[in-house]
Structure formats: C-alpha cells, structure tokens
Symmetry: C2
Subunit: 129 residues, 2 copies
DNA sequence: TATTACTATATGCATAGCGCATATATACAC
DNA sequence: GTGTATATATGCGCTATGCATATAGTAATA
C-alpha cells in the first residue's frame, strides 16, 4: 500500500491516496487576486500557505490556470518590466472573476461539509470498536 | 459563467466549478464496508449520505472502484444469490483495506484543513471590504 | 402475457485536469 | 563564466471520471 501526497510517482491502482481537491488552485488564485494585483511567481508564494508546494507541476498548473482565467475574462493581465528581474505578467481580478470567487467559496463550503461528514462517521465508528 | 455541481455537461474553460475531492468515493466505500459487508447497489444508498447522487456516473465509478479495490486486495467479494432480485456481489474489507481507510482518513483531515484555511482567508478578506 | 419498474452489475468512449520534464530569458552575486 | 534566483511557458502522457449503454433477474400491474 502506498500513501502519497502531491507530486509523487504513484500512478497505479486504487491503494494510492491523492485526496486533492480538483481545480483547487483556481479559487485560490482568485482569492489572492481579490483586491490585490499580482503575478504568477509571486502568487505561488501565497499559494504555499494553502498547501501548494511550488513544484514544477504546481507552476505548470498555475500558469495554465491564469491563462484559462484570462481567456474566460475572469482576470486581465499587463506586462510590467520592473527595475529588477525579468518582466512580469501582472494579473488583476475582473467583476466576473470576483463573482466566480464567491461561487467557488460556496462550492468549497459544500465540499468541506462532505469531508466533515466523512470524518464524523469515521470517528463515530472508530470509537465503537 | 457556469456554476455546476456533479453530473453536468460543463466541459470547457475555467469558469466551471467542480470542487470535488479526487477519488473521494474510495475512502467512502472503505468507510461503509468497515465492519459491515455490503454490495454495490446497497453501498450507493449509503454513499448518498456523503453527497453522492446515485447517477449513472456515480454507479460507474462505484463498480469500477470496487473492482480496483479487490484487485489490490483491499476488499474481497463473494457472489450471493438471495431470495429476491438478481445475484449480488457482496464485499468485505480486508486488513489491508482497513489500514488504507485509516490512511485516507488522515489525508482527508489534511484536505479539510486546506479548505478551512481557504474559507478563513475568504471570510477575513470579505469582512475587510 | 406484455409492459413497466426496480434491483443489480458492468463496460466503452471521450476528455478535463494534472504530474513531470523541459525550454527560455533576465538579473545578480561570486 | 558559473551558479542561483526570478519569471513565464508548453509538450507528453496518464488517471479519474462523466455519460451512455448493455445485460438480466424479480415483481407488480394492466
């Protein structure tokens, strides 16, 4: 039996624990862009506080998600050539993007309730053993 | 913008909210089989209390997950031809399956913590508006 | 007896999301 | 000039899963 988190090599069978929330990076990005413009690399630092690791897989998902969000009009970007480092693509939230964030928040509350229910049943059954 | 739950036709773009836990049905099955043998169709009734819908998609995932779990030695099945209805394939948890459940429970606690953190940041930022 | 509905298990097809590797380029320290 | 941090981006391939469909036993009911 293999227990794995993110960024692992475990690919086979059902005895591999992933347990990640699908597309969770999208609402996380929207949250950190809410009232605070930022660029990809900087966003990853903030995303680490939500359990992301900054791995190459995470970076790939990050930049892809930002592109998709812009394609859908949820964020807009502008290139900014600062004094130091390579040029940054700075994103900010649109009105639609904020609305999407609020909808995500409701969806995440629902998901948390499911996990709560699972863990409650689990603990309940564990104590009756 | 499209907000969708499970079992929707939303396939494109990032403005579609899924927000589900990957492979969540696997630990759910293990939980309900813990000390209580059961078959697929009956398990689905119990899974509904964890937010599953019993849709054709859910049924497909259910039977596939059961097969995978058996292939990995996490459950064992026996055909039982009862007095009524078609024969049922009754599953029970193995020792490895129980160990897997415990590992899943820890993983789900971690995921719940991530959702908690997201929602805390979200509420915090919402109140400062 | 035909029809319908419920119980029960199973599989094929298509695709979204993502892990992993890799490419590219700037700036700065040593 | 070599290494490291910053910064963005994409190709490949696989897993999980949504959706549709197949199959069949039992039972009620028209």
């Amino acid at each position: 039996m293999t227990v794995c988190g993110r960024n692992n090599k475990c690919r086979s069978g059902s005895s591999c624990i992933h347990g990640r929330m699908e597309k969770f990076m999208e609402p996380s990005i929207l949250l950190f862009l809410w009232g605070q413009r930022s660029h990809g690399y900087e966003l990853m630092e903030k995303l680490k506080t939500l359990g992301f690791e900054g791995s190459s897989a995470d970076m790939a998902t990050l930049y892809r998600t930002l592109r998709n969000l812009e394609e859908d009009g949820m964020v807009v970007s502008t290139w900014e050539e600062g004094s130091q480092g390579p040029p940054k693509r700075v994103y900010e939230l649109t009105e639609n993007g904020e609305a999407l964030l609020h909808n995500w928040a409701r969806a995440i509350q629902v998901q948390r309730a499911r996990l709560d229910r699972f863990l409650a049943l689990y603990e309940q059954r564990r104590q009756s053993t």
